[in-house]
């Protein structure tokens, strides 16, 4: 390399190409520059992910039932160590664009030290992006709702929750979780709520939207009552499923992916509102995750139009559907921002300044950085702060350091009088 040095101006150095062994901190080095400007902002990432198949042995060891645990463990001796009992279709996981996006393919970077590898990866991402709290959720399990065996969904969902809450969350207080609800087995889902309703690391309960279960079915009323009583939100995390008969008409992943994530949440939102779930459980808050935002004004207008003509079919409603939807919460990612006029109108429709929650979806290929919010030209500084973290802080009951509130910092005596902690210098 001596020749390199002789032909190079002092101070110039070479940057390595990115592959799936690249350290998260190197991959996100450009984001870290933006993160410096967020030091006095409170940033909550309401939807980020781990790759649970990398730790599948640990997870299935947490299955309560002896028979299902043995069934899952039996896969370990098979060639390639397939993830036992899961219904994911690895050969059709095209998110990494066939090698174009290495970090989506596999996070093979070196970890080590005191924390679990998964926790270390989360910490590196949070630090690089300037995030105060990150809600970390599974990835292939987002399609577990399509598993033909409801009891397997319950066994794997329960095992994942136990692994996450008991083994992972205690290692990093900035990491939070929405409990996986095995929604195809309503009593099992209720048990998960009862188990974790009061856990401080659990900030909500997640229905993975990719499934064929009508959310208004009477089987779910006890579940909704329990979640409402917990004071924590129910969340609908959408996903894709190319095996869906309608999606099979799409010949490109792009097409299927673009529609599928919206499709499931449109159906669940429609059933949720038209059957008056917000009237039945008025204190139950809902978050709609990873469908972007453009679908929301569409479904608001569509349901309002039909409701005004066919009001007799939705007798539990006391207001237009859009008025209930305006009180729900939505995560930003993947935020459609090719047309800022349409996006601005969407923000107005959903009352974004109080209802919108920043989400990265890291480490997935269509992740959004905090700059997706800070660079928006049509919202003011306080609205940006709300969306980046202050809305989530209220909804998820997270403590905000005084210096990140976005208001002039009070003096030490005033802070003490208000019970506020002094800002870290």
């Amino acid at each position: 390399m001596a020749d390199d040095a002789t032909s190079r101006t002092p101070g110039v150095f070479e940057l390595p190409k990115v592959d799936n062994a690249t350290d998260t901190r190197d991959l996100l080095a450009h984001a870290a520059k933006d993160a410096n400007a967020l030091k006095d902002h409170f940033v909550v990432d309401v939807d980020a992910h781990l790759s649970e198949f990398a730790f599948w042995s640990e997870i299935v060891d947490r299955i309560d039932n002896d028979v299902y645990r043995q069934m899952a463990q039996s896969f370990r001796n098979r060639a390639g160590s397939p993830p036992g009992l899961m219904n994911a279709t690895p050969g059709m996981l095209y998110q990494d664009m066939f090698g174009r996006i290495p970090h989506q393919q596999r996070l093979a970077e070196k970890t080590g030290g005191e924390t679990h590898a998964m926790v270390t990866l989360v910490q590196r991402a949070m630090d690089s992006m300037g995030i105060d709290y990150m809600v970390v959720l599974p990835t292939p399990m987002l399609v577990l709702g399509m598993h033909p065996q409801a009891e397997i969904e319950a066994a794997l969902g329960g095992a994942f929750n136990k692994w996450m809450v008991e083994d992972m969350l205690p290692q990093e207080k900035r990491m939070k979780n929405f409990i996986y609800l095995p929604f195809n087995d309503p009593p099992a889902a209720l048990r998960e709520v009862e188990k974790y309703a009061h856990h401080p690391g659990v900030v909500g309960f997640m229905v993975t939207s990719t499934r064929y279960k009508p959310v208004h079915h009477d089987d779910y009323m006890k579940l909704y009552a329990a979640i409402e009583a917990s004071g924590k939100p129910i969340t609908f995390h959408s996903g894709f499923h190319w095996g869906d008969e309608s999606m099979k008409q799409c010949n490109r992943f792009l097409s299927m992916h673009a529609i599928s994530f919206v499709y499931y949440n449109i159906i669940h939102m429609t059933n949720w509102v038209i059957n008056g779930i917000p009237e039945r459980f008025p204190k139950l808050k809902s978050i709609w995750i990873e469908s972007g935002l453009a679908w929301v004004p569409f479904i608001m207008q569509r349901l309002d139009s039909e409701y005004m003509m066919r009001t007799s079919e939705a007798p539990l409603l006391k207001r237009k559907p859009s008025e209930y939807i305006r009180e729900m919460y939505f995560t930003t990612q993947p935020m459609e921002r090719e047309n800022l006029k349409l996006l601005e109108a969407t923000f107005e429709a959903i009352n974004a300044e109080s209802q919108l929650l920043y989400a990265s979806d890291w480490p997935h290929w269509d992740f959004d950085l905090p700059n997706s919010i800070t660079q928006l030209p049509f919202i003011n500084e306080q609205q940006k702060r709300n969306i980046l973290g202050l809305n989530a802080a209220k909804l998820l009951n997270l403590e905000v350091p005084a210096h990140k509130l976005g208001v002039p910092r009070p003096g030490p005596a005033a802070m003490a009088a208000q019970g506020l902690a002094p800002a870290a210098e």
Binding site: R8, L15, S372
Partner: protein, 122 residues
Amino acid sequence: MTDVRVARFDEIADGDHRVFSTGKREVGVFRVGDKLFAWENHCPHSGGPVCQGKIFPRVEEALDDEKKSLGLKFSQRRNIVCPWHGFEFDIETGLHPGDPDVRLRKIPVAVRDGDIVLTLPG
């Protein structure tokens, strides 16, 4: 404008690329035959390290006389792919194949005495 030497010309193989930093600015240098192209290592989409990504041939779809698809094929054009989100840019023009308004920032590059010299703005 500041000139910086980053490497010897023969240290970049035909078809390959390397990325250099001056601390303030990062630049990817791409070699196509005897030509060099240099682009700022900043994706116009969301600021990703575009030049540190992989080079892929552009994918095209040919049609027959009846407008039926003949399927996908690789072309001779090659794109650099941003490793953050997959935005692709032609390594010779810096243009996104789907929208020419989305483009990489060009950095003047020359070979002097066998050295690759970038002329950096500012």
